[in-house]
């Protein structure tokens, strides 16, 4: 499959983000013992949204510096493969993997077209990876292909309400600035960076998931905790906004066996 044009833009923006932030943030993330979710670092032990990963084969689509994959490996996954399309991010991930000796497999590829065999994983995972940077019509189909029957798909993305309230620049407002009608691909530009991400509304994304054989197991809307403070790097909704409205959401699905 030829590389869609947004892939190069996203690679460039993540190369820059790696130089500015994610490379230096990687060691602390890898070193962390606890699995946490999203910008507010909500602990998995409170959310309980992941299946038991002990002995499971896991693939992370859009792994970035692969800290989440590292956490899953430490939580008992048998095999963890991280897929990402930005070499700089994978370089950081490889350096960390060597340092921490966790034995992740790291592959440079677009999650819309993964060079791995069918039915080779028990869990497909994405935290702000393919879940927002890839076309859902393509990457969810790949996720279904990579999973064994009854395998699970867990991913996090920004909430639809946050997207609807986003101005051209800066954090989410309390106003509906973007119509939901036609919402799917969002082209953006911020300073030197440009790219595209994908955000079909809840019903459209659910329809794509059903078409690809997934059954919805759980869906969590995440709010900022009372003591949350604004993130140092990511242009997030303010902690105050995210206490009132969910800025992030986690989907958990199971591939139907038939």
């Amino acid at each position: 499959m030829p590389e869609p044009e947004y892939v190069a833009l996203n690679r460039a923006s993540w190369t820059l983000a790696n130089a500015e932030y994610t490379d230096r943030a990687a060691r602390e993330a890898w070193a962390q013992d606890e699995i946490v979710w999203g910008h507010w670092h909500l602990p998995e032990r409170e959310l309980g949204v992941l299946p038991d990963v002990s002995g499971k084969d896991v693939i992370e689509l859009g792994c970035g510096t692969a800290y989440f994959g590292a956490w899953l490996k430490r939580a008992g996954a048998r095999r963890v493969v991280g897929v990402d399309l930005t070499p700089a991010q994978l370089d950081t991930a490889r350096r960390m993997d060597e340092e921490f000796g966790l034995g992740l497999e790291l592959i440079e590829a677009n999650a819309e077209d993964v060079p791995l065999p069918d039915e080779s994983f028990d869990l497909v995972f994405s935290e702000y990876g393919a879940s927002i940077w890839c076309d859902p019509a393509l990457w969810i189909k790949e996720a279904a292909r990579l999973l064994r029957p009854e395998g699970e798909l867990v991913f996090m993305r920004g909430s639809t309400i946050r997207i609807l309230c986003l101005p051209d620049e800066g954090p989410a407002t309390d106003r509906l600035l973007i119509p939901q009608k036609g919402l799917y691909r969002i082209d953006w530009q911020e300073g030197d960076m440009a790219g595209a991400d994908f955000h079909p509304p809840t019903a459209e994304l659910f329809a794509i998931l059903r078409e690809n054989g997934f059954e919805l197991v759980d869906f969590r809307e995440l709010y900022a905790p009372d003591d949350a403070v604004d993130h140092e790097y990511y242009a997030q909704p303010s902690a105050d906004w995210a206490r009132k409205w969910p800025a992030e959401e986690i989907w958990r699905l199971r591939l139907r066996s038939s």
Binding site: I161, L164, C165, D174, R175, L176, P179, Q180, K181, P201, T202, A203, F206, A207, R210, E215, L216, V217, D218, F219, R220, E221, Y223, R243, K244, W245, P246, E249
Partner: protein, 250 residues
């Protein structure tokens, strides 16, 4: 009558729903919500031929009438507002459709377990009954493999609705966090949950979620003359209504 919701619907029946019940019952095509989007476009319902159906919060029971005409074996309409059931009974006699009409709250239905194949609610229990009570009743009333289909307002339109009785705005008027029970002026008590809470509630009651349809007002839609909580223009840009389709696990 102490119940503010029953009071509000008794008033609404005298002002509006009684007078338009015959017209609604007479319609041949099933449609959804205030924009009358046809079922033939949305395809939210399973085939009802030969099925036993309960409508939770039936009002004047026009939706149940459509399902009976579409081939349902048995249609039971449940509503707590006597005035609306009287209108429904008058129409039922006039149209000879043989609906059964029961005065009860959808949170506590005096009918046996596992006696229906389909539970529906269109602006009924779906917004005027507490989901933490009526969803478990729907699960109890359904046979294994039975389906639950309901239409409610979108979470977004509720978030954008001011406390006063004016149409939805383009500004978030209230927090979504822990949203549940709403008292509007002169409108009774409504219940609105976020998507996450709906999904978890349905799953906890043994439902598989088959579909979620966010309804868009058609291009030629005009703002509804009575149900003017949202303008047609707003509802073309953002969904003001949504339909959930779920199946009770066998």
């Amino acid at each position: 009558m102490a119940d503010p919701t029953v009071e509000a619907w008794t008033r609404a029946n005298a002002e509006y729903t009684d007078a338009r019940a015959e017209e609604a019952w007479a319609k041949e095509e099933i449609d959804w919500g205030i924009w009358h989007v046809p079922e033939s476009e949305l395809r939210a319902l399973p085939d009802v031929a030969g099925k036993d159906v309960v409508e939770l919060g039936c009002g004047t029971a026009y939706f149940g009438a459509w399902l009976k005409k579409a081939g349902a074996a048995r249609v039971v309409g449940v509503d707590p507002t006597l005035a609306q059931l009287e209108t429904a009974r008058r129409c039922n006699e006039q149209f000879g459709l043989g609906l059964e009409l029961v005065e009860a709250y959808a949170e506590d239905v005096p009918l046996p377990d596992a006696s229906f194949d389909l539970a529906v609610s269109e602006y009924g229990a779906s917004i005027w009954a507490d989901p933490y009570k009526w969803i478990s009743e729907a699960a109890r009333l359904l046979r294994p493999g039975g389906e639950l289909v309901f239409l409610r307002n979108s979470t977004l339109v509720i978030l954008c609705s001011p406390d006063e009785d004016v149409p939805a705005t383009e500004t978030l008027q209230r927090a979504q966090f822990e949203m549940h029970r709403f008292e509007w002026p002169d409108e009774g008590v409504e219940y609105h949950l976020s998507h996450g809470d709906w999904i978890r509630l349905l799953r906890a009651n043994g439902f598989e979620i088959l579909d979620l349809i966010e309804i868009q007002a058609p291009e030629d839609a005009l703002t509804h003359k009575r149900y003017d909580y949202v303008s047609a223009d707003w509802a073309r840009k953002w969904p003001a209504e949504e339909i959930w389709v779920a199946r009770k696990e066998a």
